[in-house]
């Protein structure tokens, strides 16, 4: 199967994606291709069902998540947004990052889950702003260079949120 993830779900390759259609089409594909539908089938049919269902899962998870979706859109343009040559970040963004990380560490040592949740929420708000600007860069202006910068920022924010969740989990166990 050579098609890309957008083609698989019969969607146009845009950042501003209709998530309802994505979910509906994902479910339609799983309803057709899932291994449960091929229990009595031949080994070959089972194999292609397994492959397609696996790909549909991977594709769905990629397109559902804004940072992964942006990264994937850039990959379709042959741009690797997280390659090692692509690491320069604006100073103000890095300052912001450091501040968040400091707040995170402080809340961690105070075992303050409420503050961590608050910080998580604050970063999500920032992420929404970046997502809006990705529609502008990737869908409207086709400015992939700026799009790459914003995507990297979004990936950074996701990483901070992941780390916050990990800390909350540790404190909660």
């Amino acid at each position: 199967m050579t098609q890309n993830y957008f083609e698989l779900f019969a969607l146009a390759p845009t950042f501003n994606l209709d998530l309802v259609t994505l979910e509906t089409n994902y479910r339609t594909i799983q309803s057709t291709s899932h291994p449960d539908r091929f229990v009595g089938a031949t080994a070959t049919e089972k194999l292609s069902s397994m492959q397609l269902a696996t790909m549909a899962n991977e594709a769905y998870q990629t397109l559902k998540n804004p940072a992964k979706r942006a990264k994937y859109l850039l990959e379709l343009q042959n741009i690797n947004s997280i390659s090692e040559t692509n690491t320069a970040m604006p100073a103000d963004f890095l300052m912001q990052q450091m501040e968040w990380r400091e707040n995170m560490e402080e809340a961690k040592s105070n075992k303050d889950i409420a503050s961590l949740e608050q910080l998580h929420h604050q970063i999500q708000v920032e992420a929404k702003i970046l997502q809006a600007s990705l529609i502008d860069c990737l869908d409207i202006k086709k400015d992939y260079s700026s799009g790459t910068d914003v995507t990297r920022k979004l990936i950074f924010l996701d990483k901070v949120c992941d780390d916050i969740n990990k800390i909350i989990e540790q404190l909660d166990s």
Partner: protein, 620 residues
């Protein structure tokens, strides 16, 4: 061409016939078997009308094995040979369990612990198989035929070793496992179909020995698990144990012998059950040294001594909610599953957390088996439930050991199944030609804190400078949640593959040997059986391919059709002869011949399914 069809009773490939399939809830305390009859799921009863089979196995004198109520009666008089709650030992080593309070003679074995009984050393897999055999017989007697297969439920939070052990037990009991199904997902199926529910549901499943929490999105027959979490060593048994400890403490008793321990545990369980609907109880019994225990226990005291057990369930609940990215207001309903959720203090804590009265209108003991039966019915190919689809997840992350004893996650927990993911690694020494691969499961950073699933070696890497080799390791998890791992050096194509059957799992050969030993079958019987099985599978594939050709011949060239038809004819001829191996190779050949056809059909069916949805964008 005459199509040769040889079917065993109940194994007919004829599509119109109802295939007998069951769902089995292999529980810590009780086990059940259910099936779908005329579109409705029913739990099957034994000849006395009992549906719950206590998960207790007694090894008696003269090779007599008893299971269920009869075995339960022996637990006070013969505790060493009466195994209760064996599920807690599945896929577990001695270090994983608290063995000091248990009356068994444990034998440490690489991987899974074993228990010395009168009938010899038994593994938890063999003990569980005894329970499954009884349920299999019960089902076959009730349904009047041989079973096509069974769906066996497991706690969602079971790891790979525990799943593998469960599957081994089923195979040892002579069951064809159609699927391992997570218990909360099974419950959601039974509940959702019964109530026509749509939306976001939490399944809170506190069984005898395990706790699971799953969050599902129910929509138009698709049951999508968004997140799951749990504790595979927390359940109703722990509440009994709290009462037991309370008795020892209050009555100032010294540690007891096996007989007294068992007796006090039974009394504790009775007290717990009584306090589910009463405010107080009297615990009284006569111990072996003549001491008489007589204590008064109130519901409030019971709630107090078990408060932290109930509280302990909320941590997995919060984790699952976070993983699903949901808040309490998003949840449409909370379904209670498992006998232990009958305890009022459990219901209260759940109601307080979700700010909602939990749903308890299905029998919490039966709902898992009922859901499993529905899935079994679909997987056996009995139509009319086509719209139902379960999308489950992997409960625990899978990873590899990297330098410094760190676990690098390859597949993250709560990924939807089936899933495959590859990661590249490299060598760290010049000229390194082998790489040892250690597969682990768990969320912790350090390998020592995760469960080790398997170790294997990739050899024959061409010598290169450190960091130059590119070793791609692929993890594949199938719809049962079972893992296989393959490793390949990309430049040289050296490959190693293992299905992860760690020290915990049994190899195909071991299973065969155990089966042989238990049936004690003569060689002739065995080859007759093999021939019958080969013919059944040949008949099944011929039927399937013919039906496929009938429907979709147009998708492939006339030459391709001719090749496939030639293989069908060849296999039919082989099937009429008496060589099982030749039939198997004919099946292989037919499978091979249909590869392109299968792919074309798959693509066509996806196109059809998405038809009308922006057709111009699909390139299939």
């Amino acid at each position: 061409m005459a199509l040769l069809q040889i079917s065993e009773p109940g194994m007919s490939a004829a599509p119109h016939q109802h295939r007998l399939a069951v769902g089995i809830d292999l529980g810590t305390t009780n086990s059940l078997v259910a099936t779908v009859l005329s579109g409705l799921s029913h739990v099957l009863a034994d000849e006395h009308g009992y549906t719950l089979l206590p998960s207790v196995v007694h090894y008696g004198e003269t090779d007599k094995v008893q299971v269920g109520t009869e075995a339960q009666k022996k637990q006070n008089s013969d505790p060493h040979n009466t195994i209760v709650s064996v599920k807690r030992f599945m896929g577990r080593g001695l270090k994983d369990i608290e063995s000091s309070q248990l009356p068994y003679q444990f034998v440490e074995q690489a991987g899974m612990l074993q228990i010395a009984t009168r009938a010899g050393i038994k593994s938890p897999v063999e003990i569980s198989a005894e329970i499954l055999k009884v349920l299999k017989t019960r089902a076959e007697q009730a349904l009047g035929g041989e079973l096509v297969g069974a769906v066996i439920t497991v706690p969602a939070y079971f790891d790979d070793a525990q799943r593998q052990a469960t599957k081994d037990a089923a195979r040892l009991a002579g069951l064809n496992v159609l699927r391992l199904l997570n218990e909360p997902t099974a419950a959601a199926v039974a509940y959702g179909l019964d109530n026509n529910s749509e939306g976001l549901y939490v399944i809170y499943d506190l069984g005898g020995g395990t706790f699971d929490i799953s969050i599902l999105k129910l929509s138009k027959g698709v049951f999508e698990v968004l997140a799951t979490n749990g504790d595979s060593a927390l359940g109703g048994d722990d509440f009994d144990h709290r009462i037991y400890c309370w008795i020892l403490e209050t009555a100032k008793l010294s540690p007891r012998n096996a007989h007294d321990t068992r007796l006090l545990m039974s009394k504790s369980r009775e007290a717990k059950e009584w306090l589910t609907s009463h405010t107080e109880t009297q615990v009284s019994c006569l111990l072996s040294d003549g001491d008489f225990v007589n204590l008064h226990l109130t519901y409030d005291q019971f709630t107090e001594i078990t408060a932290n057990l109930v509280e302990k369930t909320l941590s997995p609940v919060r984790k699952a909610m976070r993983d699903a990215g949901l808040s309490i207001e998003d949840i449409d309903g909370v379904v209670m599953v498992g006998g232990a959720t009958r305890m009022p203090q459990v219901q209260q804590v759940v109601a307080d957390y979700f700010k909602k009265t939990p749903l308890t209108n299905l029998d919490p003991d039966k709902v898992v088996a009922l859901g499993a039966a529905i899935q079994a019915n679909i997987l056996a190919g009995n139509k009319n439930a086509e719209e139902l689809l379960l999308l489950d997840v992997i409960p625990l992350s899978l990873g590899l050991e990297t330098i410094g004893g760190l676990a690098e996650k390859v597949i993250h927990r709560n990924s939807t199944l089936p899933v495959a993911r590859a990661q590249e690694f490299t060598t760290y020494k010049d000229g390194q030609t082998a790489m040892s691969i250690h597969v682990v499961q768990g969320e912790r950073e350090l390998v020592v804190d995760c469960r080790s699933l398997a170790r294997f070696e990739l050899r024959g890497i061409p010598p290169m400078v450190a960091g130059a080799a590119r070793i791609r390791i692929t993890f594949t998890v199938d719809a049962d949640g079972l893992l296989s791992v393959s490793a390949r050096e990309i430049s040289s194509n050296v490959e190693a593959h293992i299905a992860v059957k760690p020290s915990y799992g049994l190899s195909e050969e071991e299973i065969t040997n155990m089966l042989k030993a238990s049936f004690n079958s003569a060689e002739a019987d065995k080859s007759a059986r093999m021939l019958t099985e080969a013919r059944v599978s040949a008949g099944a594939i011929i039927g399937a391919v013919k039906a496929a050709l009938e429907a979709d011949k147009a998708l492939i060239t006339r030459d391709q059709v001719a090749t496939i038809e030639a293989e069908i004819n060849r296999l039919s001829t082989l099937s009429a002869a008496n060589d099982a191996n030749a039939i198997h190779s004919g099946v292989e050949a037919l499978n091979h011949a249909t590869e392109a056809f299968a792919a074309a059909r798959m693509n066509a069916s996806i196109s059809n399914a998405l038809a009308g949805k922006a057709l111009d964008q699909i390139k299939l």
